[in-house]
Symmetry: C2
Subunit: 437 residues, 2 copies
């Protein structure tokens, strides 16, 4: 099975766990059998590999997420990086072209496109597998998954099938309706459109060539920023007469808001949390290393992270976005391909952060124009390079880098450092990268 997972942008609706560079799909919030926590993307990837261990999984995403993806899924997963955001048609065209030209998937094989963040069980991926198989053998050019509605939702588009069979032609598509119209649709046997569909690789590739002038994946990648923003629905689905829909009746949740996310939590709290016995329907996710105490709350979600603190009535939590949009704050925590960093202290002319490097990983070789930096190694060992000279470092070592000094460090064992930045103009743009000698 070839599967493209569409990994969307920043998830402000789950602030403070998600932020501009940490999307909701990377939050470790689901308890696994081993007692650890996994993220949406880890859960989905694990489920796909359980259903088909040979599945070719490609994640279509932006540059900003590449580090987090490899950090959470390892280096084996395919990543189709969109150089900039250009809506779903260019993204799917690019990922399909990547599968063909980079991963070597033959043109007659089928591909399934699926969002990266549904909360589902393994049966969902069994259904996805069948969707792919149907696309391989079907006369139809697109085979969609239609999810059996559990309530008249106003949040989803609806698919009206021609028959009530498991597999049917599509009669029509309906935009997000109001609740009353949704009820009517459901009476007529309509299904939710969860954005999952399968096609033969050559079909989308030929559509791409029809609409875009390009030779191969690399060429498409290079001219990506010149492409028109256009959705896959508009460019392809609406114009395609040969579409089938396959019914799925298993569990399916869209975890886009705190309200729905907390429904999927296996336990009411994560982290250092005390709920007194007068709390009802309270969920708390505490990523800080200090305690949270909740008393006498009802149907409230609390979340604390290095980015901030949310305390919200569960239903109200759906309306968070405009409030988060107004916050103008630097990113306080981020996962990187090489590890992670957390801001510890912000002053006018200094910034103190904690840097954790995974064994074998290093950061870019770089320098800053406008700030000095000091590394205080607090655990682990590594190799530092300063102005092309290498040096082993370990606990208690201090590394001073005046502005202009080219520097990098590679962790031998997991390496933790307190980095103190000093300067009158500290910002992320003051960075010059170099090749290592």
């Amino acid at each position: 099975m070839n599967i493209i997972l569409l990994s969307g942008g920043s998830g402000k609706r789950l602030w403070p766990l998600s932020n501009d560079i940490r999307s909701k799909q990377f939050i470790k919030i689901f308890k696994t059998e081993s007692g650890d926590y996994e993220s949406m993307v880890q859960r989905v990837y694990r489920q796909i590999k359980t259903v088909d261990k040979d599945a070719t999984v490609t994640i279509a995403t932006s540059k900003a997420q590449v580090s987090a993806i490899h950090n959470q899924l390892g280096e084996d997963v395919g990543v189709s990086v969109e150089p900039c955001r250009r809506d779903t048609f260019p993204a799917i065209a690019l990922a399909t072209s990547y599968l063909h030209d980079v991963m070597g998937v033959p043109s007659d094989e089928s591909v399934v496109v699926c969002p990266v963040d549904p909360y589902v069980e393994d049966d969902y991926f069994e259904a996805i597998k069948r969707l792919g198989e149907q696309a391989s053998k079907s006369e139809a050019n697109l085979v969609l998954m239609g999810i059996e509605p559990t309530y008249p939702s106003e949040k989803y588009g609806y698919i009206i099938p021609s028959t009530q069979d498991d597999l049917s032609e599509v009669d029509s598509f309906k935009e997000k309706p109001d609740a009353k119209t949704a009820e009517e649709y459901i009476r007529k046997g309509a299904l939710w459109n969860g954005g999952v569909f399968a096609y033969k690789l050559e079909y989308v590739l030929s559509k791409a060539h029809e609409l875009i002038d390009f030779t191969d994946y690399q060429d498409l990648f290079d001219k990506y920023d010149t492409l028109e923003k256009i959705s896959f629905d508009y460019a392809v689905v609406e114009k395609e007469p040969k579409i089938q829909v396959m019914r799925f009746s298993g569990e399916w949740k869209d975890l886009g808001t705190w309200n729905t996310l907390t429904e999927a939590m296996d336990q009411p709290t994560i982290g250092d949390v005390t709920l007194n016995d007068t709390c009802e329907g309270v969920n708390v996710v505490n990523e800080l290393n200090v305690p949270v105490i909740c008393m006498g709350l009802k149907d409230v979600v609390v979340s604390a992270s290095p980015e901030g603190i949310l305390v919200s009535d569960k239903e109200q939590s759906s309306y968070i976005k405009p409030y988060v949009d107004k916050i103008d704050q630097q990113v306080m925590f981020a996962e990187k391909s090489w590890g992670s960093f957390r801001v510890l202290d912000v002053e006018e002319e200094s910034l103190t952060i904690k840097v954790t490097l995974n064994p074998g990983h290093g950061m870019y070789y770089h320098s800053h124009m406008r700030r000095d930096e000091i590394w205080n190694v607090i655990s682990g060992t590594g190799i530092v390079m300063l102005d092309d000279k290498k040096r082993e470092v370990g606990v208690g070592d201090i590394i001073e880098m005046k502005a202009g000094t080219r520097h990098t460090v590679t962790a031998v064992t997991e390496l933790k450092m307190i980095e103190v930045q000093i300067g009158d103009e500290i910002n992320v743009h003051d960075k010059t990268k170099y090749e290592k000698p």
Copy 2:
């Protein structure tokens, strides 16, 4: 006017703003006319000085609070330090003896004793002044303030006066009653006992000599730990026949819990806080430098500090103490006489803190056996002493102190440093103090 302010112990009921070493009276929560915030003790001290700029104010407290008192009130305020906790009679005896022997207050002057944390207006201290004047000229040995009750509280003791005059003999004292009994008391004209009383200095001094064998203040201080724990009520008030009560009908609030404290807040929030328009009766005190967003809450108090986060229904917040007692966490923030510190990062074998020293102030000259320390100066200038050698330091300087190194620093201008502690046994007890050479 001579006034002794009794400054009580740790205030877990206002966690996370108060902790073992930071009592509620030091939390800066009241907005002043200039727009800054002041603490209970600062507010009370300012109010006393407004009413009587020559008032001799002495704060009776434990050693742990001395730094915070001088930090908030300056060096001029008198402090009578209890070497250990011995209940109110020894504390008042010691403070009275301090007034006489250290501050030189004559024996025939009156003294007023008052808790440090009432939330009142200036008229309260006008009343206290009159209380002192009455004690000077009265035949009575004690003159109490009786607060006109506003509701049948179960939290206070009651004073039954003989008459309804502004000044009256006391008929009897009543312990904290249930609400029904309180209603009866109030019908009979009873007053709340707010723990405020005045006496001639010689009266309490002679009571002290009756019950304790000591020569002067220093002698009493030295043998303080041998004294019996006994309350002033039990030792003096209950046995004294000549007591008057003076009626006070102005505003008086006891800010012992979040519920009552939030009533006294001039604005619903302090710090970086967003309340959406569906919040009602919500108060937030955010001491962190990240935003708090509250949505759809009703009658809830939220407080976030370096110690932790409280989210509580206002009424439930009175029952916080047992939950805080269960928390076993190191102190994350403290004010000291020389400035303040805040814990930034805790690892198994390292601790990173931010130290802020006020100009002209320094810490003890000291060393550690089991840990190395590194200072990264991020702002200001100071004089460091390492193993008796002095050195000027400024922004960007790094000071390394291996275990055993005697060290201290004195701020010239406000000095901020990131201190990295490294060792396999980091704790506050590993400290040897030295005299500076």
